[in-house]
Amino acid sequence: MRTNIHVKDRVAVVGAGLTLFRRRMLETPQELAAAAARMALDEAGLTLEDIDCVVTGTAPDAFDGVHFNGEYLGDGSGAVGKSMVRVYVGGGTGVMIPVAAWWHVASGKCRTVLAVGEEKMSPALPHPQYVFAYIWDPILERPLEPNLIWIFAMEMRRYMAKCGGKKEDIALVSVKNKRNALDHPAAQVAGNITVEDVLNSETLVWPVNRLDISPVSDGAAAMVLASEREARRITDNPVYVEGIGWTLDNTHWYNRDLYYPRYVEYAARMAYKMAGIEKPIKEIDVAEPYDPFDYKELHHLEGLQLAPRCGAWKLLKDGFYDRDGELPSSPSGGLLGVGNPIAAAGVMKTIEIYWQLAGKAGARQVKKEVYRGVAQAWGDLMQVGTVIVLGR
């Protein structure tokens, strides 16, 4: 793939908005989308008339319980009478939304894009986990009656076996992220917890305990992206999209060594090359790797080349990824602390990097000066990597 891409316009992020993330909310998917979109427009000082195109994303239709969920969500996302497209790569959708928004602007087709991620998981009964029963292969996997958590437990076990981290080492991710989330206005499950709390929570599928996992959430998140020209009218200090990357691996997850997410590495290398980054661990100042499970943050830090292979859990122990550490990771509080309305969660992570670079992260602002950050999401059967690099 070409990396010295010819673009019509450099692309900047100029506004962001969120709703609360909560287990159950009154608002419809459209109402959640509209609330987040309004806040993003307000931050940019724009109105809907200033928006040329709309990109939306939600994870499986089965959560909201409505097919054509993209179109269903359209009017709440400000898409009436505009060019709109929904992107969908499972859990990777959240970061795919700003990635897709990038090419809308970079191509010169749209000057401004409203990018909206929404997820309403609460309607599915008796538990949203049931919806995940349909991700398994009907012939070779469903007869074994798998529970979704099996696949994560298998991956975590493999990581521990190959990389040497123990459950208590990995639980530190959950402790860090829930603590970081105390300062996040959308947070659903923030708190000061200990490694013991994680280890003593219900064991679902060993090695996974309940507090190793992010919660079920409703919520929305939105961003406004604009061409450099438009962005300069809005702000003197734009935050630019410097690199994007996305990759898919095969469906046969059990034909791969689960200890390492190569699809994240491929996506990250694509984004870094575009951004001119050669030594990510030195050149990236702040990161938001996807953390639906605590071990996955470590997995993804390694895939993102922000730790030596198998080395993320050791750096974590040393405080390397703390908010005041050398390379703050999930300063937002991540999915483990803020919540996991799937597509909205990835957008929330991208927004955190934007706010960190713009100096707008408030109490979450990391200690060091930050010039470049990366957000990443993962999806499907250990398959999808989506990566975005922002810089100022």
Partner: protein, 178 residues
Amino acid sequence: MVELEGTKLSEKEIETLPGVIYYKPFTRYKFTAGYAVSVFLEGLKRGKIVGSICRRCGRVYVPPRSYCEYCLKPTDEFIELPDRGEISTAVISYISAKRGRLEKPEFVGVIRLETPGYREGSYEFAGLFHKICGITEEDVKTGKAIGMKVKARWRPPEERAGSILDIECFEPIGGGED
């Protein structure tokens, strides 16, 4: 902190709202296994693990693919593999598919099959996702189970139906406790 929009509800509060609808979609499906996996399932009926090979790149696929994922040309032939391998990862499930607590925990994992011509430790491998029997919780927790040599425990021929369940589980070679 900024005040964000959104109205949190408890599970009880939802019941008091106007316009709450319960809806159960009626959808049923009939899946076919396709060309390659049908051959695989026929093999299981005979007590054999069948894979496919792409001679262009040398990849061996279990479960078999009718096309090579890297060359996208049809795979060249079906081959039989030994019904043994090693445990790549194994976990202990205390919950059922529907999240209920299990009386007796269940062991599941990924089996890396012994594949002639494949180097050890390759990132990709011929393998299956299946139940594991004859190992203990201790084996999984200490890591003793990882890398353990295992073999398919087949259902008796008359009970086999051409299903992944024709293999009951994978169990340690040389027996283990049950």
